[in-house]
Amino acid sequence: MRRPEHLVQLAAPCVLVVGVALLGTLVSASSEGYFVDTLVKVSIVVALYVFIGNSGVLSFGHISFVALGAWTAGVLTVPTAEKPAIMPNLAHFLRGTTVGNIPSLLLAALAGGLFALVIGLALMRLSGLAAGIATFGVLEITHNVLRYYEKIGPGLNTFSSVPQTTGLWQATIGALVVICVAFVYQRGRFGRMLRATREDAPAASAVGISVYRQRLGAFVLSGALAGLAGGLYVHLLPMNTESLYLDLTFITLAMLVFGGVGSLWGAVIGALAISALNSFLSDAENTVHIGFRLPLPNGTRLVTVGALMALVLILRPSGLTGGREFRLPGRRA
């Protein structure tokens, strides 16, 4: 377990993330936002991977943990003086409470994890299609409640006045933390047990693994990581419920499938590749750039990403990495 090949599997995604961060310091301040956004997306996709990749059960509901994390971190960090203006109907105990940047992120992770625990206790009994639809139901409910319940957040309004503390470094450290947690989990006892249930659930339960408990554990862990990612996200840019709904669900799932659902390396590669494409195209859509770039009509970005995703699924259903971890060339496992 402690052999260097395995450390390479952890080091490769970390090096990639740090590389992206370093690249981000070189570009202009306006493009830096793309890099920070990319790193937050890496965190979300890796959080998704911890559950979907290791368990093989599809979840459409993880963005609800991201949303809850974002709401937690957001509500708790808006300065007390500005709360009544943005959130006039906020519950009393939230009105006076304000915490700093780091505690808000930890609380976001806690909120995501607890919510995942409550949901998972019931839903992890399901599998296959029923699980997919039920997690989708969770996303619908979360979106609906956050949209209209104004005692816990801004409701329909945009979450403004949240301190924008997620810069390049906070996003990088966040992504590294998420990657490390994911790696330690998947190399450890529980991760291996869950992967065994993914490969063959009846065989795994025959050797005494509780499919339910292993799935629940991964669900909670991945919910906490998603909550953390949501906290990072809300500190990055002003958002509302619509930015934490179907589009984000689609794009993050697309990233995961594109890179390869089966591996951490795939999750990171997928997030970086689609983000890079996305940023490049949305830059090209802004026709203000005069240079070698072609001005593209609005919406090209979405079409390209959708087409690419369908294409990858048809040609390489197991993703770019084929679900394998990073390996140095020339070495055999």
Partner: protein, 302 residues
């Protein structure tokens, strides 16, 4: 008694019935594709959307109503053929999760194309607007489209049931649904049967497009989004394996949301999606195969 408690009048009941009928039609289409292909088609909504755009363009070009309807059928059928050939057929051997994500991708792609070509503002499909006018029976406004929807839904369901039970193609479809490989070995031409299912579900999508554009003539890239999400839940609720339970599920959820939407005050009815999906999750936990199915015929294949 319960009606009095919920403060439901006949008007709400009539509207709920109409909504239920349209949702039942959508549910038939989704349930049929699932039964035969084992595929939850997230892109079904985009078929409906394409049909709605066809109707909108037809009325923009001042085509007569019947020409618009034909155009709508043609567009939806062509699109469902292309979707089957280019995406679903190459992926047929893949796991359900990959297929599910693939339909997700196709849905996203088609929606972005609509956004790119037709813009976010939407178009008006007005050529069939006279069907939206009400007539009055003892103080209750009943829109003509509601009657049409109920009749069409019943006809489609009966027709489908006859097709599945009385014809060879129907028998083959059911065989493919139960066991794809064995059916194929016994001489069922799988691609023909699946093609047949795709055509039928495309026809249903076109019918749904017509019904929905009469009710909401403004066609935008996210046309029918709400409806499809709710219907999908309803189909799972009813039981995805057979068309009749699926349809009943679709009708039930349409009827329930119509009823609750009409009966609850706005402060509560804004949480309607939460109530519906909480019910769906509960049902899934208690009866994963759906409430309108008997026995346990869906086993996880080992």
């Amino acid at each position: 008694m319960t009606l009095a408690i919920l403060n439901v009048d006949w008007q709400t009941l009539a509207d709920a019935l109409a909504l239920g009928a349209v949702y039942a039609l959508m549910a038939v289409g989704i349930g049929l594709v699932f039964g035969v292909l084992r595929l939850v088609n997230f892109a079904y909504r985009q078929l409906v959307m394409a049909g709605a755009y066809a109707l909108a363009f037809a009325s923009q070009w001042n085509w007569p109503g019947w020409a618009g309807i034909l155009f709508c059928f043609a567009v939806v059928l062509a699109l469902s053929f292309v979707m089957d050939r280019l995406v679903f057929r190459p992926l047929r051997t893949q796991s359900p999760a990959v297929m599910l994500v693939a339909t997700f991708a196709v849905a996203y792609l088609l929606q972005s194309i609509a956004l790119l070509w037709f813009g976010p503002l939407g178009k008006i499909a007005s050529s069939l607007a006279q069907l939206n006018r009400p007539f009055v029976i003892s103080g209750v406004d009943i829109r003509k489209i509601a009657v049409v929807a109920v009749i069409v839904a019943v006809l489609c369901l009966v027709g489908l049931q006859v097709l599945l039970v009385r014809t060879t193609v129907g028998l083959q479809m059911r065989a493919v649904a139960i066991d794809f490989r064995t059916a194929r070995m016994l001489g069922v031409r799988a691609n023909r049967v699946i093609g047949g299912a795709v055509v039928i579900s495309g026809l249903l999508a076109a019918v749904v497009a017509i019904m929905l554009t009469v009710q909401t003539p403004l066609v935008t890239p996210d046309f029918a989004l709400r409806d499809t999400i709710v219907v999908l839940a309803g189909v799972v609720l009813g039981g995805m394996n057979r068309p009749v339970p699926a349809t009943l599920g679709g009708f039930a959820i349409g009827f329930a949301s119509g009823l609750l939407g009409g009966a609850l005050p706005t402060t509560q009815s804004q949480y309607l999606p939460s109530i519906l999906f909480a019910a769906v999750i509960l049902v899934l936990l208690v009866r994963p195969n759906g409430i309108f199915t008997r026995g346990r015929d869906l086993l996880e294949r080992v």
